[in-house]
């Protein structure tokens, strides 16, 4: 059982996320092509490539996550750049100087991250955005009570949330222009959000 999340695991999480984005670049872009402008995979891949390049040395989890935020903000562009950038920025703040973090701190990270996305994008869950994966993930994590179970629950909730976007009509972002025609498509941002949560679980279980 994992008691604490270490800096090394956070680093692994970020690297894994970068690998997943590279692998799923075309897939995410195809999702965005259906209801957006066909760039989400390109954006995420470009962003996380830069993240990995700019990741600082050391174990400071707050510093690592802040570096993720800065790289995303300056390399992704589009809607996803500021949103994910703000997500990591808000989440990183209480973690500055910490080389390992507890369940409680990670739960707080998720909640801060979600709050950051909501604040920046003025959106709520149910509008067919990344929040539909992130909000249930954060809630499920907190409810599970410990790190391993929490991550498992978060991944499941994120996956379900991602799938739940399929029947939704988009009310935020580019997909909202399509109105009814945005239905029956999975939201690209919710999909990348699920991937980010999943990469964290993978990193933690590998480290265990």
């Amino acid at each position: 059982m994992t008691e604490m999340l270490t800096g090394a695991t956070v680093r692994k999480w970020i690297e894994k996320t970068a690998a997943v984005m590279a692998e799923n670049r075309t897939y995410l872009t195809e999702l965005d092509k259906a209801i957006g402008d066909a760039d989400h995979g390109n954006n995420m891949d470009r962003g996380f490539k830069a993240v990995v390049e700019k990741l600082p040395e050391g174990d400071d989890i707050g510093a690592l996550l802040k570096a993720v935020s800065m790289a995303l903000i300056s390399k992704v562009g589009g809607a996803a750049g500021p949103l994910y950038g703000t997500m990591f920025l808000q989440g990183s703040k209480p973690l500055m100087g910490k080389s390992e973090i507890s369940f409680e701190e990670l739960a707080q990270f998720f909640e801060d991250a979600v709050a950051g996305v909501k604040m920046r994008g003025k959106a709520e869950a149910g509008e067919k955005t990344m929040l539909d994966a992130l909000v249930p993930a954060a809630e499920a994590f907190r409810k599970a009570g410990d790190l391993d179970a929490g991550l498992k629950a978060a991944v499941e909730a994120a996956e379900q949330g991602m799938k739940d976007t399929i029947p939704m009509i988009a009310k935020k972002g580019r997909a909202s222009y399509l109105g009814e025609r945005s239905r029956d498509h999975q939201d690209p941002g919710a999909t990348s959000s699920y991937m980010i949560v999943k990469a964290l679980e993978d990193a933690v279980s590998e480290a265990a």
Binding site: K33, D37, A38, G78, P82, R174, Y177
Partner: protein, 355 residues
């Protein structure tokens, strides 16, 4: 995919290099990418814009005397990042503040706002006006709101002229908002376009289909129909523009007193008999300019039938979607102030008169 490019990952940089080589009066900066007037701005408000690439000549082609002071090009169809606007803002700051003209796409709005916050931290006054003139989208409550289309070009022209005339930041910000609520646009596509990164068309359209109410990022429009004659298509776009009701929505603005972003309610005008307008018939990139004149012909007729007088017109490629075939129509209601500023001299790569 057939394009005159070298490296799909690098098109924006290679195009900017050529742009810089062709226009020595404009400085091109890399990493972060932006273009700005050489020599900077002195003692007047600086005007900047930007957005995803692929809409050329917007915005870089409108940098120069009497229009934009700087433009920040993102990757193709992806909004630029805050560091671009931050560096551009520092380069053109002339001590009187900066007006950002931003097309209403979530990415553009968020990135420009973040840049505005960063510049403000440096002690530079920044205002940020969102252009949302696309009447194809009826509703702002359940969508990201109307997109920014051709009115952006006119806002850049008119605000650039006003800056030269000495408008201060408050007055210029109010002017830009005025242009926005007096402008209405709508577009359509005959064909999709292909971004260099993706290599395949952004959407599919059958050989006998067209898309009405298209944006400028290869995103699908609001209605797909069988192909129609130029006159019928023009009538459809005109109907949406002339019958558009007073559109009310909230747009984010910087509140100087509060020192925060606040949502301000704005209501567009509707066109009335007796109005004078500037008409822009804009090609999406792959449509021959000759066909745009067929559209203009019908537009002039329809405007006349509404008692609306076209006092100036632009027919050509101004805000495009790569090689998409199609067009958009923009009507901007003008008064003496807007017309004087529109007529003022301008010298940019893509728009030039009076100098």
């Amino acid at each position: 995919m057939k394009k005159l490019i070298n490296n799909a990952e690098d098109v924006v940089v290679e195009q900017l290099k050529g742009f810089g080589a062709a226009h020595p009066e404009i400085e091109v900066h890399f990493d972060p990418n932006f273009v700005c007037v050489a020599g900077g701005v002195k003692d007047r408000v600086a005007v900047m814009s930007g957005g995803g690439s692929g809409h050329e000549p917007l915005h870089g082609g409108f940098v120069g005397q009497g229009m934009l002071d700087a433009a920040c090009p993102g990757p193709v169809f992806t909004s630029p990042t805050p560091d671009q606007m931050y560096e551009a803002g520092k380069a053109i700051n002339g001590g009187k503040g900066i007006l950002q003209i931003v097309k209403n796409y979530t990415g553009d709005v968020l990135n420009f706002q973040m840049a505005a916050d960063m510049l403000r931290d440096e002690g530079i006054e920044v205002r940020n006006i969102i252009i949302d003139d696309d009447v194809a989208l009826k509703d702002s409550l359940y969508t990201a709101g109307r997109r920014g289309l051709g009115t952006t070009v006119l806002a850049e022209k008119i605000c650039g002229a006003a800056s030269l005339e000495g408008y201060d930041l408050d007055k210029l910000t109010a002017l830009c908002k005025k242009v926005n609520i007096h402008g209405k646009s709508m577009g359509m596509a005959l064909t999709p376009c292909t971004t260099p990164q993706n290599g395949t068309p952004s959407f599919e359209l059958a050989e006998d289909e067209i898309e009405i109410g298209i944006g400028i990022h290869g995103e699908p429009g609001v209605e797909r129909t069988k192909i129609k004659s130029a006159d019928e298509i023009t009538e459809t776009l005109c109907r949406h523009i002339f019958e558009d009701e007073a559109y009310t929505r909230k747009l984010s603005e910087w509140d100087v007193e509060k020192g925060d972003w606040v949502d301000t309610e704005l209501t567009d005008i509707t066109f009335q008999k007796g109005d004078e307008v500037i008409a822009l018939v804009n090609g999406m990139g792959g449509t021959p300019v000759s066909e745009l004149y067929t559209v203009y012909n019908k537009l002039a007729e329809v405007a006349g039938s509404h008692g609306v007088k076209i006092v100036r017109n632009l027919v050509g490629n101004y805000i495009t979607s790569l090689e998409m075939a199609g067009m958009s129509i923009t009507l901007q209601k003008v008064d003496d102030e807007l017309l004087r500023l529109y007529d003022a001299p301008v010298k940019t790569p893509a728009l030039r008169w009076g100098v």
